[in-house]
């Protein structure tokens, strides 16, 4: 049985979906030109990943193995539609800003990845936490990329101007290629750090 602490540590750091597993990068590249977009996308994904993992896990013992993927897709799609309906009804402003991104959540491989890799073998509550943790890891990486892109691309953070008029926006930052560079740099840096940590730990054990 995994402890919640371990689950979060895995989802956010050690097994971060974007920078370690390299999944869900399609949307990580697409929506990170503004921090607000990234945050909304991240929260939506956390909700969907958590609850779909929970549901998949709940019915895992009754689901025939060979149709489980069909069932998972159905569950994920249903939750994404629920998010969409909820936003339209109660947060119309948010729904407007989110627009096409809500539908994009369905195609995010993190959700199905967690359902397959974790929820299929573990009890519901843990699966829920696992989904939320992965979603959180994804959100953090998105916000990191979006921070750099929005800062250099617009001179703003969450739409608030932080760099003065003297700043010349770098158009490349708003364009998709910038996300590629930044994502690669983040993966590089974090892998280097994680490798180092591993070495240190090994060294300690050896002593």
């Amino acid at each position: 049985m995994d402890s919640p602490k371990k689950i979060f540590k895995m989802g956010v750091i050690k097994d971060n979906p974007v920078i370690v597993q390299i999944i869900g990068i399609c949307s990580a590249l697409a929506v990170t030109n503004l921090m607000m977009n990234s945050l909304i996308m991240g929260v939506g994904l956390m909700f969907v990943t958590g609850l779909s993992s929970f549901t998949v896990s709940l019915i895992r013992n009754y689901t025939p193995k060979h149709i489980r993927m069909m069932v998972q897709v159905l569950i994920i799609a249903a939750y994404v539609i629920i998010v969409d309906i909820f936003l339209q009804a109660y947060m119309p402003e948010m729904s407007k800003a989110l627009g096409p991104y809500v539908g994009l959540i369905i195609t995010n491989c993190i959700i199905m990845g967690r359902a397959e890799a974790y929820a299929q073998q573990n009890p519901p509550i843990l699966s829920f936490l696992d989904g939320v943790a992965s979603g959180l890891g994804y959100t953090i990486v998105l916000l990191m990329i979006a921070f750099v892109r929005e800062l250099f691309g617009f001179g703003t953070i969450f739409g608030i101007k932080v760099l003065g008029d003297w700043w010349t926006p770098w158009t490349i930052m708003i364009m998709p290629p910038a996300a590629f560079f930044l994502l690669a740099i983040i993966i590089w840096v974090s892998n280097t750090i994680q490798e180092k940590n591993k070495d240190v730990k090994k060294g300690e054990v050896a002593k």
Binding site: N33, L34, N37, I59, Y62, T63, P64, K65, H66, I67, M70, V71, L74, I75, A78, I81, I82, I85, F86, Q88, A89, Y90, P92, K96, G99, P100, G153, F154, T171, I174
Partner: protein
């Protein structure tokens, strides 16, 4: 797990039915709210086009002002909104315009004065342009430029011309040339059609 042929089918049908039922229920129970939200949204935009400021941004105030000042009449497939003054005289029209943008269709309303001589304002109802680039057409800085543009001087239906072209009257969005171009085409074409139909009569 049972290795039967029929069980997976029943299971799938059952689970689909359950989720469809839940979604249908949610959709049904929020339909009214969603429709109301959309109505408020549209009312806000029409008021913005005519530069009418409701006493507050609250939905009730917006709808009240909208009901007092705006009426609608059918035009082509949609509606033209008519702006009435206090004595019921017509002050302007909001004409629906639409066409292809860079990524998807763009729908907007253009407000023109009652004598068809100037643009009162413009707002976008729906578009799917890139946020931060083409999506900036729905920002105030871009939309405000259209207020008070003279329609009578334009030739061949070129009402919107981007600077620095000769006769330019509006600034395009930097980094979103194609979206800007689509917007001017859409407005020029649809407005021309409307003015030809009404303006000369």
């Amino acid at each position: 797990m049972k290795k039967s042929f029929i069980f997976p089918i029943i299971f799938m049908v059952l689970i689909t039915a359950i989720f469809t039922f839940v979604l249908a229920f949610l959709n049904q129970s929020t339909a009214e709210r969603v429709a109301l939200n959309q109505e408020i949204e549209l009312s806000r935009k029409i008021l913005y086009i005519f530069d009418i400021k409701p006493p507050s941004e609250k939905p009730e105030d917006v709808l009240k002002v909208f009901d007092e000042k705006i009426s609608s009449m059918p035009y082509e497939d949609g509606l033209v909104y008519v702006y009435h003054g206090d004595e019921g005289q017509v002050l302007g029209y909001a004409v629906p315009v639409s066409g292809p943008g860079l990524w998807g269709s763009v729908e907007a309303y253009v407000g023109i004065s009652h004598d068809y001589s100037t643009i009162l304002g413009i707002d976008f109802i729906r578009h799917s342009e890139t946020p931060g680039l083409g999506g900036r057409i729905s920002e105030d800085d871009f939309k405000e430029q259209f207020r008070g543009l003279d329609l009578t001087k334009a030739s061949d239906g070129n009402y919107i011309i981007y600077r620095p072209a000769p006769g330019g009257n509006v600034d395009a969005i930097a980094g979103a040339t194609l979206t800007s171009k689509s917007v001017s085409n859409i407005i020029n074409e649809d407005l021309h059609r409307f003015l030809k139909e009404r303006g000369n009569s």
